[in-house]
């Protein structure tokens, strides 16, 4: 079971880029109204249900959201009203996640959920949020996080990240036959099945391999990859399981025969040190859902500034980056409610649903909700590619849309909203 959750974490395409605390110079934070005066009005309750224990912890997303809210509160709040942030640990358990949501939404009366980052929270609460007319802007793994009327995520999700990696293999590495490997966990069919559909559309023969998450024998798994005769791979999993597979693949010199593409969950500071970087030099293609942390662009620099000022002890990783964006988007939407007395769940819901697209250099295209009628959300589906070079991460390709046919309805909406790819990150290639 433990491994299952570890795998789920691996599928957590929202894992995105995990980096060490950066020493980038950051200026004065830009938060909300920027008045420099503390908000003292009636608090606005905001909630989050996040996996903080049990199997893994994504608390950095909540901590970053809280840091941004603190910064907003110190700068006039939402027209004078401060935000109080209530986050709950779902312990990676469905029942706990459901109880936590009921406590926050029912008892605490939060107006909106922001920064929730969980393995299972969407499964437990998607329907409940619809019934309660409350929205959630966070990070998610399961398909319910992307197919719900009331949930919209900052991250692209495992399917889009996997397709991003597979598409890189098709375009740049001339993949004709690709193995989609994943542990057999809930949602695995949705992910590799989605990549199979993508393959049919683009002439790539995708062979899915689902394997037993309880087995410790990874070498046999690697032999199974080789036995398919495929030229490329998309290997899902967390960076720790990934390192194990990559080391076993190295043992069989498999990178000489197959192109290894992996989702964004591999893009961590730890991975280059956990594999033989010499062997994998320019041989591992990793999808990335957010801008690299060393981007010098405005919003990314503001994230650094906010964290330095209001969350100096919080690990600056991709969860933190995405939590910050989630909070910033919601604050921007709430500020459109000009009368502070009228800020409540209903008006906040309407404000977020009707918000104009949010342009940020951390994402490859503006983030949007899509109006009150939107029944699915996947605003982030344009991703980047990085590789391991000389033991470090190297940016390979900027924003690129994989043209996944399964999100055609999303594209239609984006066309209507005028959403276009815009690579605003300032990074070195």
């Amino acid at each position: 079971m433990k491994r299952i959750f570890c795998v789920a974490a691996g599928l957590f395409a929202a894992a995105l880029l995990v980096g060490s605390g950066s020493a980038m110079a950051a200026g004065k934070p830009d938060c909300g109204l920027n008045t420099g005066k503390a908000a003292t009005g009636q608090p606005i309750p905001v909630g989050a249900v996040t996996s903080m224990s049990g199997i893994g912890s994504f608390k950095e997303a909540d901590e970053a959201a809280k840091a941004y809210f603190d910064c907003v509160n110190a700068n006039g709040g939402i027209h004078g009203r401060p935000i109080t942030y209530h986050d709950e640990d779902d312990q990676s358990k469905l029942d706990v996640a459901a109880q936590a949501a009921k406590k926050l939404v029912g008892d605490e009366g939060v107006y909106i959920m922001v920064g929730s980052t969980s393995f299972i929270e969407c499964i437990a609460n998607a329907d409940y949020y619809i019934k309660q007319n409350i929205l959630e802007v966070g990070l998610g793994i399961p398909s319910q996080c992307y197919k719900s009327k009331n949930i919209a995520e900052i991250n692209a999700g495992p399917l889009q990240s996997g397709i991003g990696g597979a598409d890189y293999a098709r375009r740049k590495l001339h993949a004709k036959k690709l193995v989609c490997w994943i542990f057999k966990v809930p949602g695995a069919d949705y992910i590799c099945g989605g990549i199979e559909n993508w393959g049919k559309h683009f002439g790539v023969n995708v062979v899915s391999i689902y394997s037993d998450p309880s087995s410790v024998d990874v070498q046999s798994l690697v032999l199974q990859y080789a036995a398919t005769g495929a030229d490329s791979l998309m290997v899902f999993g967390t960076d720790d399981i990934g390192a194990q597979i990559l080391n076993a693949a190295q043992g069989q010199d498999l990178a000489a025969k197959m192109n290894f593409t992996v989702p964004t969950s591999y893009y961590t500071v730890r991975l280059p040190g956990a594999i033989d970087s010499k062997y994998w030099n320019n041989r591992l293609w990793v999808n990335s859902e957010l801008a690299p942390m060393d981007s010098k662009a405005k919003d990314n620099m503001n994230w650094h500034a906010v964290m330095d000022a209001y969350g100096p002890k919080v690990l600056k990783d991709s969860f933190s980056q995405a939590g910050y964006i989630a909070a910033r988007i919601v604050v921007r939407a709430m500020l459109t409610i000009k009368d502070p007395a009228k800020i409540n769940r209903s008006t906040v819901t309407a404000a977020v649903q009707n918000m104009t697209p949010y342009h940020t250099d951390i994402l490859c295209q503006p983030w949007y909700w899509g109006g009150p009628g939107a029944t699915e959300h996947n605003a982030n589906h344009v991703t980047r590619t990085v590789t391991v070079q000389d033991g470090k991460w190297k940016n390979l390709e900027g924003c690129h849309d994989s043209d996944d046919p399964s999100i055609e309805s999303i594209r239609v909406l984006e066309k209507k909203l005028g959403i276009k790819v815009e690579d605003r990150a300032i990074i070195k290639y």
Binding site: K2, V216, S220, L223, G251, Q252, T268, I275
Partner: protein, 288 residues
């Protein structure tokens, strides 16, 4: 599908299972305790070796310290706690070691964390022998050699030495052994000491072959128990063969797409079938 590559692949995991299984049987024979903390002892050894190596301590010293840590902890438990439960039911003694396993798992998870990409490198990782078209690393062959050596060595110890005689006496009847002058506690403690050393070696090897993770290493004990059951928890060579069978079954099932999703259950299914077919009285190598 050609299954021979998977047979070659099963050698490494089978050897680790075999080594673990032999360690479990040694302790069980002497003290009647099925040690669920075996994997956790091994995990500690692997993490200490890893910690020292990342602090630029020579690898050999890391391995020695790691194995020493698992040995000392195992011995300490055998010396302090095990005697106090010596007259309790075997299930109680086994459950007590499960508690220890969970405690150590928690401690490792707390200090080193879970789900983190890291690896324990051994100098023999990149050297290999080609078998059925598969590169079998020298590390895996060493694991096999150590398992063989340990099974043989402990067999000799039991048959040729005084402490071995005492261990065999305890295995036959604890009370009578005590009456005839066998130093029960000292013999028990020795068995725990051997168990800890086996666990340390198995843990370091598994961390290298598989993954350096508290959970993975702690639960190594589960398939090892299936292997030991094949030997009816009595025969050392049976435990060795049982471990190899379990490793091979798990690997070879990869070649059967319809059932590979449950390949980790292979060792237990084999153990169950074995008990049903052969019966409760005999196991692999039980004539030893």
């Amino acid at each position: 599908m050609n299954l021979l590559p998977f047979v070659a692949s099963g050698i490494g995991v089978g050897a680790v299972y075999a080594l673990s299984s032999v360690g479990l049987v040694v302790l069980y024979r002497a003290s009647g305790t099925l040690n669920f903390a075996f994997g956790a002892f091994g995990g500690l050894a692997a993490f200490f070796a890893f910690e020292l190596s990342r602090n630029d301590v020579p690898q050999v010293i890391g391995w020695i310290v790691g194995i020493a840590v698992s040995t000392i902890i195992s011995y300490g438990y055998g010396r302090i706690f095990a005697p106090r439960m010596a007259h309790r039911d075997r299930v109680v003694r086994a459950v007590a070691t499960l508690g220890l396993a969970l405690f150590l798992l928690g401690a490792m998870a707390l200090y080193w964390g879970v789900g983190r990409a890291r690896r324990l490198v051994l100098p023999t990782d990149l050297d290999y022998v080609l078998l059925f078209g598969v590169r079998v690393s020298v590390t895996r062959l060493i694991a096999l050699g150590i398992a063989l050596l340990m099974a043989g060595g402990i067999g000799l110890l039991l048959s040729r030495t005084r402490i071995g005689l005492a261990m065999r006496a305890l295995a036959s009847d604890r009370n009578i052994s005590s009456v005839i002058g066998v130093r029960v506690n000292a013999t028990d403690s020795f068995a725990w000491l051997v168990n800890g050393a086996f666990a340390g070696i198995a843990g370091i090897l598994l961390a290298n072959i598989n993954r350096l993770d508290p959970g993975v290493l702690t639960f190594l004990v589960i398939p090892a128990i299936a292997s030991a059951i094949l030997a009816r928890l009595s025969s050392l060579w049976g435990a060795f063969i049982g471990g190899m069978i379990c490793g091979e079954v798990e690997a070879v099932l990869t070649g059967f797409p319809d059932i590979m999703l449950i390949r980790s259950a292979g060792p237990y299914i084999v153990a169950l079938l074995f008990i049903m077919v052969v019966g409760a009285g005999q196991g692999v190598g039980s004539r030893e």
